[in-house]
C-alpha cells in the first residue's frame, strides 16, 4: 500500500517538476521578449489550477497515509499555492496578469518562485523515490 502511495506521489511530483520547468521556460521566454505578455500569461494561467490540485493531492495523500514529515514539508507550499490563487484581485486575469507582469519586478518574483518550486519538487522527488524503494523493499 505504501509503495502505491509513493509511486503515485512520484508520478505526481514528476508532473509538477515538468510544470515548474515549463513555467520557467515560458517566463524566461517572456523575459527575452520571445513571446508577448498576453500569450505568456494565458499559457501559464491555464496550469495554475492543475498545479494547485496536483500539489494539494499529494499533500493530502501524505496526511492520509500519515507521513507527517512529508506532509509538513509540503504544507507551506500547498498553502502558498492556494493563497496565491485566492488572493488574485477580481479585476485581474489570473495569477499571471499580462498588464502587471512587467511592473514592480513581478516577472522576477514569478521566476524566483518557479525556481524555488522546481528545487522543492526535485527534493521531494528524491524523497519519494527513496521512500518508494524503501517501501518496495519492505514489501
Amino acid at each position: 500500500m505504501e509503495a502505491v502511495v509513493f509511486v503515485f506521489s512520484l508520478l505526481d511530483c514528476c508532473a509538477l517538476i515538468f510544470l515548474s520547468v515549463y513555467f520557467i521556460i515560458t517566463l524566461s521566454d517572456l523575459e527575452c521578449d520571445y513571446i508577448n505578455a498576453r500569450s505568456c500569461c494565458s499559457k501559464l494561467n491555464k496550469w495554475i489550477i492543475p498545479e494547485l490540485i496536483g500539489h494539494t493531492l499529494v499533500t493530502l495523500l501524505m496526511l492520509v497515509s500519515l507521513h507527517w514529515f512529508i506532509f509538513l514539508l509540503n504544507l507551506p507550499v500547498a498553502t502558498w499555492n492556494i493563497y496565491r490563487f485566492i488572493m488574485v484581485p477580481s479585476g485581474n486575469m489570473g495569477v499571471f496578469d499580462p498588464t502587471e507582469i512587467h511592473n514592480r519586478g513581478q516577472l522576477k518574483s514569478h521566476m524566483k518562485e518557479a525556481m524555488i518550486k522546481l528545487g522543492f519538487h526535485l527534493l521531494c522527488f528524491f524523497m519519494y523515490l527513496y521512500s518508494m524503494i524503501l517501501a518496495l523493499i519492505n514489501d
Binding site: 479585476g91 485581474n92 498588464t99 514592480r104
Partner: protein
Amino acid sequence: MSAPAGSPQRAASARMQPRLGGAAASGAAAGPGPAPRQQNGPAQNQMQIPSGYGVYPQNYSAPSGHCFQGPGKMTSLPLDDQCGDYYSGLYAVPTQNVVTPKTTNQQAGAQQIYGRAPPAPHNVGSTPEYFQGAASSASHLYTSASQPYSSLVNHYSGPAMYSANSSAVSQGFPSTCGHYAVSTVSNAVYPSVSYPSLPAGEPYGQQMFTSQNASTVRPVRDNSFSSQNTALSHPSPLPPPPSQQYHQQQSLSGYSTPSWSASGPPSTQDNLVRNHTGSLTPANNNPTNTVADSLSCPVTQNVQPPKSSPVVSTVVSGASSARLPPTANHLVEPVASVTQPSELLQQKDMLSSSASSPAPDPAPEPDPTPAPVPTAPQPSKVAKPFGYGYPTLQPGYQNTAAPLHPGGQPCSPAYSGFQQYTQQYPGMNQLSSSLGGLSLQSSIQPESLRPVNLTQERNILPVTPILAPIPNLNLDLKKLNCSPDSFRCTLTNIPQTQALLTKAKLPLGLLLHPFRDLTQLPVITSNTIVRCRSCRTYINPFVSFIDQRRWKCNLCYRVNDVPEEFMYNPLTRSYGEPHKRPEVQNSTVEFIASSDYMLRPPQPAVYLFVLDVSHNAVEAGYLTILCQSLLENLDKLPGDSRTRIGFVTFDSTIHFYNLQEGLSQPQMLIVSDIDDVFLPTPDSLLVNLHESKELIKDLLNALPNMFTNTRETHSALGPALQAAFKLMSPTGGRVSVFQTQLPSLGAGLLQSREDPNQRSSTKVVQHLGPATDFYKKLALDCSGQQTAVDLFLLSSQYSDLSSLACMSKYSAGCIYYYPSFHSTHNPSQAEKLQKELKRYLTRKIGFEAVMRIRCTKGLSMHTFHGNFFVRSTDLLSLANINPDAGFAVQLSIEESLTDTSLVCFQTALLYTSSKGERRIRVHTLCLPVVSSLADVYAGVDVQAAICLLANMAVDRSISTSLSDARDALVNAVVDSLSAYSSTVSNLQHSVLIAPSSLKLFPLYVLALLKQKAFRTGTSTRLDDRVYAMCQIKCQPLVHLMKMIHPNLYRIDRLIDEGAIHVNDRVVPQPPLQKLSAEKLTREGAFLMDCGCVFYIWVGKSCDNNFIEDVLGCPNFASIPQKMTHLPELDTLSSERTRSFITWLRDCRPLSPVLHVVKDESPAKTEFFQHLIEDRTEAAFSYYEFLLHIQQQICK
C-alpha cells in the same frame, strides 16, 4: 423572430426620426447576416421584410434634397480648405527668398543651405508638411562661407537653420513650386532632412502654413511675432555673459525675480527697448555675439510669444515677459513661429546681401553653435520688425516681396530638402532648457543645496512658478539636451550605485510627455535611419564619433560604422561631417520611417463613436452637445482622404448606422441579440468621411432627437464594446465611448459597489480596483488590434469607473469624467464637455504606436505608469497616442555606473500619423552621474519626484490599500529628509532641514494627501476618487502639477507693473500666493488656477469698484450664484483681468471653465478644498504636517 422580442423593437423603431431608414435585425431569430443591406437601396422608401429577419419598416419621409450626392462632391473638402487658406495666407516673403537666393548665389563663398525642390505632397492638402526641398541651389542663405551651419546643432538654438527651414516651407508650397522647379537637382541619393511640423493632418495645419500675411490679418499672431521679436533681440546685443545668464534664467524660470534683473547690465535693457522700437541698425554689426546669443535667439523666438511688448519698462518687462509657463503655448498662434523663421531668413538674406559680412567664427567644431552667431542674432533682431507690422520697416520688407503664384504642382517626392514647420503649440520649455543650461552652471549647486529650515521659513512658495532644474552638464551637452517638458528625470544627477540611491531615499524615474505639441521639430527623411547595431538605439547628440567612419553608442558602448549616406549633410551640403547632421544636433527629432518599420500598410484614421442612448443618457442631454461638436469639427478631424467614421448607439439593444455612400439617408440597423453580437452589414458601418459626409451630417442632425421618448433604461455597454471591437479590428483606430450609467445588461455588467456611508471613512476605502476582468480583456484585445478606447463617462450616479476605466487604461485611451452631468441643469459641465470635445476631436493623433524606452547599460526600468499595455520589458504598446498623454517610468540601478560620467535615456515613439505616414519621434536625455550624496540632493527635481510618487501611490492604493499609500507618501518625505539631515553633520537635528531643491517636497506631499485621490475623512465619491487616480496616472507633468498644487493669484488689484504684452494686450503678472486662507482677505478677489478649472473667489467686502468694473454687478449681493463668464466691460480693471485669464487659458490645450465663487456661497467649499496649507477637520495644516514629519524623523 419571436413576438416578445420583436415588439419592443417595433416600438423603438417607431420613434425614430423619419429621415432615418431603419432595419431591425433580430439576431436571435435570424442569425447573423447582412441581409438588411439589400433592402436599403437609396430609392427604396419601404423595406421589404425578409423572412427570418426582424425588419420593420420605418416611417420614411421623402429623402431630403441633398441626400444624393456624388462622392466626388465631398471628397477633398477639407483639403481644399486648407489649400485655400494657405494660398490666401501666403505672403510675399517667400518670393523674396526666391529672389535673394539668386542674388546671393553669385556671391563668392556663398553657402547653400539646402536645395529646394517642388514639394511632392501626397495630396494638395497635405503639401505643407511634406515639402521636401531638393538639393538644388535655389537658395543660398548665408553668404559667409566660413559658417559651418552650426546653428543646426540644436534646433533650439539655430536661428539660421530655422529661418532657412521656414523659408523652405513657404517656398515648398505648391504655389511657389514653379519658381523652383528649374533648380531641382535630383538628390534622391541624399537623405533629405526636413523640418516639418508633425502630422500634417491636424486641424492646425492651415495655420502652420499660413505666412505672415495671415498673421497680419489675425491680430493675435501679430502679437506673438512681435513678442518674439523682442525675445530675439535680447541676446544679440548682449555679449556679456552675465546678461545672458540673466536672460536664460528668465526663460528658464519663466519668472523674474528682482535679483535677476539686477544681474542684467543696463545695456541689456536698452537693447531691449531699442529692439522693440524696431531700430535695426545698432545691434546688427555687433560682432561680439557669444554662443549664448546664438543659442538663445531662436529659443526665445519660438518659445515666448508673449514677449512682445515694446512699451514695457526695461528690466521688468524682460523678466516678466519670460513668464509664460512652458506649457502655455497651446495658443492658436503656431503660425507666428512658423513664419517667423522665414522672416528671419529674409532678414538674413538681406543682411548678407547687403554685405554686412559677419565675423567668421574661427572656432572649429564640434560645437557648431558659436558659428552661426554672427548671422543669427542679427537677422533675428532685424527680422522681427519686418514682417510684423512695424510700419517703418514694412516698406523694405515689401520691396523684396513679390506675390506668389499658386499652381506649381509638386513633382518628385524624393528630393532631399530641409524644411521646418512649427507644431501647433509652441513649446517653451524645450527651449528654456537649452537656454538655462548656460546660466545656472555655477550657481545651481550651492543654491539647490542651501539648507532651508522648513519650520522657520514662512513663505516657502516662491512667487514665480518653479521650473525644472537643469542637469549639471557641460555647455555643449546642455544645449543639446532634451526639453524638460518632454522628458524629465526625478534626479538630474544620477547616483552612481543603487546603494547611493537607497541612501538618498528618493524615487528615481522618468516622466515623459513624448507626443507633446511642439513648435519646432526637425523631421528627417533618410533612406537609412542610423541605429546602434546591438541595442538599436537611434543615433543622437550624445554619441561619440571615434573618427569619421565610426561612432560609439552611448547606451551600450558598441562601436558602429557610419553609413555612407550619413556622411553627407544635406543642411550644409557638405560631405564628411556626420557630427553635424540634424540627428546629431537635436535631441528631439522625428524620422520618417521606411517600410521596415511597418508590419502592414499604415492604417487610415478610423473613428468610431459608441453612444449611450438609454433614457438616462437622453435625459442628461449630452447627445446634442456631442453632435454639435462633431458637426463643427467634422472637417477638422485629423486624417486624410481615407479617413473613416462610424457610429454605434446602444441601450438594451445595439443600433448600427449604415452610412454607405449612395444611400439617400442613414439607415439604422438594430441588433437585439446582445449575447452574440454580430455586425449586420460589416462593410457599410464604417464609411469614408468624405464620401459620405452628407449622410453623416444628416445622422448627426437627427441623432439628438431620435431617442427623445425612449423608455429604455438598460445599458448594454459590454456587447456594444464587443461590436465596436469587431467593427474596428480589421483596421484599428479610435473608439470613443460615451456612457452615462452603470452597464446593466450583457457581458461586462456591473453592480453598484459604493457604500455612500463610507465616503468619508478614514479607514478603508474599498473597490478601487476593477470588479471584473471583462474590460481589461477587451482592452487587451483592442490593443492587439491597434484600437484604443476612449471613455467619456457622464454620469450622475456611481458608475464604477474603476472597472470601466480599464477599457481605456490598457488600450492607451483616455478617460473623461463629468460627474453629475446635465446639459441644462449643470451648464458648467456642459461647457467643459464642449471644450474638451473640441480639443479631443481636433488634436493630433498617432495610430498603431509603440514606444520603446532605452537607457544606458547599468540602469533598468521596472515599472511603467500611464495608459498602455506593456508588451515586453521596455516596449509599450499604444494603440493611439495623443498629445495630452503623459507617462512615467521607475528606474533602478542594476550595475554600478562608476565607469561612466553620463547616462542617457532615449524614448522612441513609432506611430502612424493621421496622414498615413509612419514616423518615429525620438527624444534623448542626457544626465550626469555623481558619486556623492550631496550632489544627488542638489539635483532633485521636486516636481518630477512628486509626480512619480503620486503614480506609485496610485498603484499602491489599488494593490494594497489607500492608507498604505498615504503612509508611503509621508514616509517618502520623512525618509528623504532624515537621510539628508544625516548627511549634513554640522546642523543640529532638532530642526527640520531640507536642501533648497527639496524645500517644496513636504508641501507637495501634503497637497497630494489632500487630493481627491488620496484624501480620507472628507466625503469623496468613489468615482471621483478613481477618476483623480486615473488622471494622476496619465497626465503629463505640467498638467498634473497644477492639479496637485493650484496657483493662486490676487486679482482685484492688478497693476501693469511687471506686465507682459501679448497680442497688443497688457497681461498683468500678479505674484503667486500660497494656498492658505490667511492670504484671502475679505477685501480682495482671488483667482485660483487648478489646471482644468478656474475659480474666482470674491470676498464679502470686496471693493465695489472691482465688482462693478470686472464682474458687472452693482454690489456683492447681486453677484449671481452661478457665474461662469466675465462680462466684457470697457474698464481698465476688467480688461486687465480678462487679459490675464485669457493668457492663462491660452497656456494649455483645454480652456478651463471659470467659476465665480462668492464668499459664503455653498460653492465655496469647492474652492476652499484647494487651500491645501490650511487645516481641515480631517487633515493637517502645512505647519502641523511639518511638525509631524519632524516628530517622525526624531523617532
